[in-house]
Symmetry: C2
Subunit: 239 residues, 2 copies
């Protein structure tokens, strides 16, 4: 049996632009990030450095995306990698004037703090989106029928794989839907996107700004959002 | 610093119903599955044993789901855990008569083989859905506006986390959208689901049937589905 190679955390060489891989648990190697550790610490990272990132990392993120489940394995996803400064500026001008979705009022002090932090970070990203080295526009081809939530089942699992991969590679990103919500028609015209395609997400991608890092998310526990057999009946683990 | 505990693969005790956790890399412990290994091998597993699974595992899957990104951290997801034999049978009777989405013809022999395998597996699951120990109906509360693909950004990342967690815990599952596509109104009435809620996915969950396991997915490479700056212009990693 050969040695098993896995991506090694924090071992990207910014000079020669290669992603580090190594033997799992090798003496001088940092271990690959574990699945659950990645899931538990993949929060939005909206403070993104303008430093360029190697295409090898962009490809690694995309390569995680295309492993995701999708309807009938039709792989109708298409990704546009955007680095052109003028295009990024064009997007930023529209992104910053698109409203965030309405929020319910926070329920407690922790939620108030999280919301204030997220608002500040969202504003920072909106002002700096054009400086982010790479934007990935995630699109889905469709059959012309009206858009519906279930169409998202063929693209957002890929998007989530990409966000987890970014977290695993030490890159900052966040799931945004502002093009779809705010300037779908315009961005499709600008980028030559055909009619039967929905833009689903815009992922900014780059190194985190110094001092910003991944960490635990602030979520209501499973028991507050899970029902037993019927809507409204409390669930808890019994066995 | 205390010892860091992580879920240990294949260490669930089916007698005492506890998920195994252990020190990473401990002498007698199986290592936690790596993030990229999970992503690269999380394919649909539709051959699911009727053997019961502990709630502790169901909770672990849900607990991965709620870490996912979602619009404004509003956490409008709700999950219904279904084990009741009559409800499962009721769902199966409607699930099996709901069409799969239309497929484009396969492009080569490998795709033909994959499609035939998937069709057989999908038919198997449709005939045996009521025997699967747990069904999780993943729902999303909304504001009453028309459904749209971007609404999926607040539920399918959670669904993907759940599928990756299942893969990490050695459980079989698959993303299905048949309730939404085939019997949304009926299932909402059956389970008492309020008006402003979309069902987004139904995840069957159980141990894999003997001999069925996770493995690599069959996908077109990144370069076939990625564009450079504009739709239709080929992209490849250059740096």
């Amino acid at each position: 049996m050969g040695t098993k190679l896995v991506p090694v955390m924090d071992s990207v060489c910014r000079e020669c632009m290669q992603v580090g891989w190594g033997a799992r648990g090798g003496e001088n190697m940092t271990e690959e990030l574990g699945l659950f550790e990645a899931i538990y610490t993949q929060r939005a990272l909206r403070y993104i450095s303008p430093a360029p990132i190697p295409d090898a990392l962009v490809r690694k993120v995309l390569d995680a995306g295309i492993r995701a489940p999708n309807g009938g394995n039709q792989q109708r996803w298409r990704f546009i990698v955007i680095k052109d400064p003028e295009t990024k500026r064009w997007i930023q001008e529209r992104y910053r004037t698109t409203d965030r979705p309405a929020h319910a009022p926070p329920r407690n002090q922790a939620e108030t703090a999280t919301m204030a932090r997220n608002d500040a970070a969202a504003n920072y990203l909106a002002e700096h989106l054009h400086e982010v080295p790479v934007l990935i526009l995630c699109c889905l081809q469709h059959d012309g029928s009206p858009s519906d939530i279930h169409r998202g089942a063929s693209i957002y699992p890929a998007v989530q794989n990409m966000l987890l991969a970014a977290r695993g590679l030490g890159l900052a990103s966040v799931l945004t839907t502002r093009p779809r919500r705010g300037f779908e028609r315009e961005i499709k015209e600008q980028l030559g996107i055909p009619e039967n395609v929905d833009t689903a997400a815009l992922l900014p991608l780059g190194y985190p700004v110094a001092g910003k890092r991944y960490g635990p998310t602030n979520r209501r526990p499973v028991e507050e959002v899970t029902f037993d057999e019927k809507w409204g009946r409390g669930w808890e683990a019994r066995t």
